[in-house]
Symmetry: C2
Subunit: 573 residues, 2 copies
């Protein structure tokens, strides 16, 4: 069974890819999004609707690296420039008329180190053979060999920087024939993100393609439940368009073989559970690490965290229905998730969580189809996403297409070679991603949302009101937030809030199931004769873990897990 769906941007990219001879490593049915929900380009059907592909492991790894976006793909020249910018700043490479003209067919012959590695970009032909060895992502660059760079760069705005083009220009060897160029242009203008939904204009955009944005901090602490439109968006790939009628969720790895569920199945066959849970990106507050030393990743402020009410079927119920039992538990240790969001090669976003969390009655893992009482918005995984309370956002897979119960963690790039923490001394030359566990539970966190850095504070009342949020991973409840107005010399205990302002406080959650953040507020007398204040906050959870004092000792090359005391300087007026 093969269902044709709207994934237009990617479909066009698929056309584009098909213009050059297929990379041998790419199975022909795999060139675009896989799964029964979206176009499978050139596959001509087959495989009986089961998404069981046999990519060679190495190829999967290559592709995974390619789709890492802000991660390992690009390192050259980043040290002194902003890591990510919108895709709009690309300038065409200057063309020189005295270079030879090549046809696409000739370019396509150069697809290996032995034959030379050629690529095209905006009508230019480049021999990047010598660059392959110094490409930060290694030989992943070979995926573009013999063809055009545009479909890859279109997915990852990280390449859209002048110095990348400068580097490229050094390798120019010729011009593409006008005929082939015209053919390219007819498709290269396609935008895989053209189907992304409209977003709220107040969002502060860190990356347009893929879309990554956070709300203004002061709005964040205005409401205990973050409105969906303001909830931070963290997409790794274009937002897939899914027809709810055709949606199928496949569950594999359990006794009795794969099981498939429609959206209606999920909504009607299993009890609907509702959980209020905070999600936080591993890169929240990365910008503070960038101030210590440049890291790789989106330059998030303090608002890559939000709190919502999620409703859906419990993953535990689905797994039990699909054949989970004690026998599975003796072998399997992980539950893998695949999303429908995919790159030009058809590799989908993927992640996994420990099986114990997935099947625990107290784990509260949902296959959510509602957010804040309404249908899931497109940016948050319509029609179904995983919500894994207490666990880093990256494992809360959106646009869920497949669940695999397995002995191993997800092989995805994001599970294996990203979203891990390292020592401050570890750099890109020495990092061994196998040496660190994938991030699951997040550490204790808090930040000041009001007043903002550098803002003037009226001192006429002799006091200042400070507000913020606090949350901890693993269901550990925040039990205290200390606030200082003198840079951390003395402390005051803030008032915690676990419901909307004016509402009755919610009852305490059972131990280990505090999934939602607490907002906090305190009014502190101003120190006498102060002209400037250094506001600081630090939180404590019920395991009495605390935030570290400073950023440098937790600095890490990916800029994740940034949870030092939050400091805000304000001026008294």
């Amino acid at each position: 069974m093969l269902h044709l769906r709207r994934c237009q941007g990617l479909a066009r990219t698929g056309v584009f890819l098909s213009q050059r001879t297929h990379l041998k490593a790419v199975p022909p049915h795999l060139s675009v999004c896989v799964g029964p929900h979206l176009i499978r380009w050139e596959s001509g059907g087959g495989h009986g609707g089961q998404n069981h592909y046999s990519h060679p492991a190495k190829f999967r790894h290559l592709v995974a690296g390619l789709v890492a976006g802000a991660g390992a793909v690009l390192a050259y020249g980043l040290h002194h420039s902003q890591v990510e910018r919108a895709a709009t700043s690309v300038q065409p490479v200057t063309q020189s008329s005295d270079l030879p003209v090549y046809t696409q067919e000739e370019v396509t012959k150069h697809r290996s180190l032995s034959d030379g590695v050629w690529v095209t970009y905006k009508g230019g032909v480049y021999d990047i053979t010598d660059f392959v060895a110094i490409h930060p992502g290694g030989d992943k660059i070979l995926l573009a060999a013999g063809g055009a760079l545009e479909p890859f760069w279109a997915l990852y705005a990280v390449h859209s920087q002048d110095h990348v083009l400068e580097i490229l220009s050094e390798y120019k060897v010729g011009e593409l024939s006008p005929e082939d160029r015209r053919q390219q242009e007819s498709v290269s203008s396609s935008d895989p993100y053209s189907n992304d939904p409209k977003r709220h204009p107040v969002l502060q955009i860190n990356s347009l393609k893929p879309f990554n944005a956070e709300p203004p901090p002061e709005l964040l602490s205005d409401s205990y439940i973050t409105p969906s439109a303001l909830f931070f968006k963290r997409n790794h790939l274009p937002v897939p368009k899914v027809d709810p009628e055709m949606y199928k969720l496949e569950v594999e790895g359990l006794q009795g073989g794969p099981v498939s569920f429609s959206l209606k199945d999920l909504k009607t066959r299993f009890p609907k559970h509702t959980v209020t849970a905070t999600l936080q990106c591993a890169g929240n507050r990365r910008s503070e690490m960038n101030e210590v030393k440049q890291v790789k990743g989106l330059n998030w402020g303090i608002a890559a965290i939000s709190n919502a009410t999620w409703s859906g079927a419990r993953l535990r119920d689905i797994l039990l229905y699909a054949g989970y039992g004690p026998e599975v538990a003796t072998k399997a240790q992980h539950v893998q998730f695949e999303g429908l969001d995919c790159d030009v090669t058809g590799t989908t976003y993927g992640a996994s969580i420990p099986l114990a969390k997935a099947v625990s009655e107290e784990g509260d893992v949902l296959l959510a189809y509602e957010m804040n009482g309404e249908e899931l918005p497109a940016d948050h995984g319509y029609p179904v996403r995983v919500v894994v309370p207490g666990i880093v956002g990256a494992r809360n897979v959106k646009w869920l297409s497949k669940i695999v119960v397995s002995e191993e963690e997800s092989k995805s790039h994001w599970q294996q070679n990203d979203y891990k923490g390292f020592s401050p001394n570890t750099d890109w030359d020495t990092v061994d991603f196998k040496s660190a566990p994938s991030i699951q539970e997040l550490p204790i966190q808090s930040a000041i949302t009001h007043p903002a850095e550098g803002s003037p504070v009226d001192s006429s009342m002799g006091e200042v009101t400070v507000r913020g949020y606090a949350w901890s991973g693993g269901g550990r409840e925040v039990v205290r937030v200390d606030v200082s107005v003198d840079g951390g010399k003395t402390w005051h205990v803030a008032q915690l809030q676990n419901a909307e302002k004016g509402e009755e406080p919610a009852p305490s959650p059972p131990p280990g199931r505090a999934w939602a953040w607490k907002l906090w507020e305190i009014t502190v007398p101003l120190p006498t004769e102060a002209h400037e204040l250094e506001l600081v906050c630090k939180a404590v959870d019920n395991s009495y873990n605390v935030q570290p004092d400073s950023v440098a000792p937790i600095w890490n090359l990916r800029g994740v897990l940034s949870n030092a005391w939050h400091r805000v300087k304000v001026k008294l007026i």
Copy 2:
């Protein structure tokens, strides 16, 4: 049923107490250790062997405060002196011959604020009526009214300090008649700790009575499994002597009424489970907090933590056998434990843990009867103790006599008014013990065991080897230890060890069940031209929680949860 057992020291104290008219608040059957295993003084039987006492709540609270030892009992004059010393330094109060002579009968008439509050101490009579209001423990002092201070002070060496005697001398009003004094002396020399076991001489003693001692740090990291003799000892009360043949464990609060188990029952009716688990006192590393500002509590170094193999019945199995089921789960939330160790009033040590931890298959809570493959030593709870992996030592109740499944936490002093964390700004005037949760899971911890502070380090090899331990509460596995030899400017990743040296590394524990510490070691090149090194370590667990940089911001009035980076200065020679 009432079994007479050896609890001689306390028995004599009981005699002593009985010399004065009984405090009205003390039920007559309650004056010494309760329970079927030990002497119940003056009870004359009754109650059918069921330990269900009806102490008035207020009385329990008073007694609890009294037995807090290093806690709330003593605050006056502590600011500039060591908090605890051994009981041997007591000097008799100087006697003045011109004061009137009183009989014990006359003294006994002064047992209230209206009649005056008199006490005796080493033949002196003291009117402490005016002192009651300024006694740090409040009117708990009234428990000694009309009688002798010795039995109370004998239990708590914290009173054995010169300045306490100085304060007392100000209230002297007379001498006890020689006859009554002789009678007192015949019993006041009794020592409730006379039955405490012999200990290894290498232990560093923080308090002799009750016995609290830690091994030398360098021995701690010599073996992955701490030998029982070296395992840190943290007793709150005298060690009870228990006849294993007569031992009974009572389980209450489940359907079908109380159930009783003999030691043989525990060993034969339930599968024997073995768990390697690290226990840590909440006060480990308190001495570093004392360096910031004086706190109350035993002045522990870095070795109030040890690792052992524990074997016994699973608490979960016992509770299921005794009637635990879904109906209980809807009401109860806690499991309380009572020990056989008790004070002069019969109040036993007590604590509780969340029910979810107790009944979880993954919680691994044991009723242990073996430690490191041998019978539990007396200091570690013979014949049965609770081992709650991942949870603060204080809840691992020794000499276990009773388990109560309940809606509420233990009402014991140690659960309600001790072993909680507070903000650095909270002092004894402002502390509200209800405002903080009882410590259960402990935060991430690590320390350097070698080299020792101030020790000379041979620089001829151009490198230094640093060793230590790392552990985290809640079953969170230590995944990395960073070590610095330059005070925290640069870091090196240490090698972790989860088995004895030379043995194969143990397999990784399942997620959330890493109960045992890791030892670590690293050899670091010496910085050029250094004459002194500041060694620092900090650990990370798999929730990526980290240790805070410094002590002052986590300082708290009880000196618990001291887990800042550990710093050791050494000299290069």
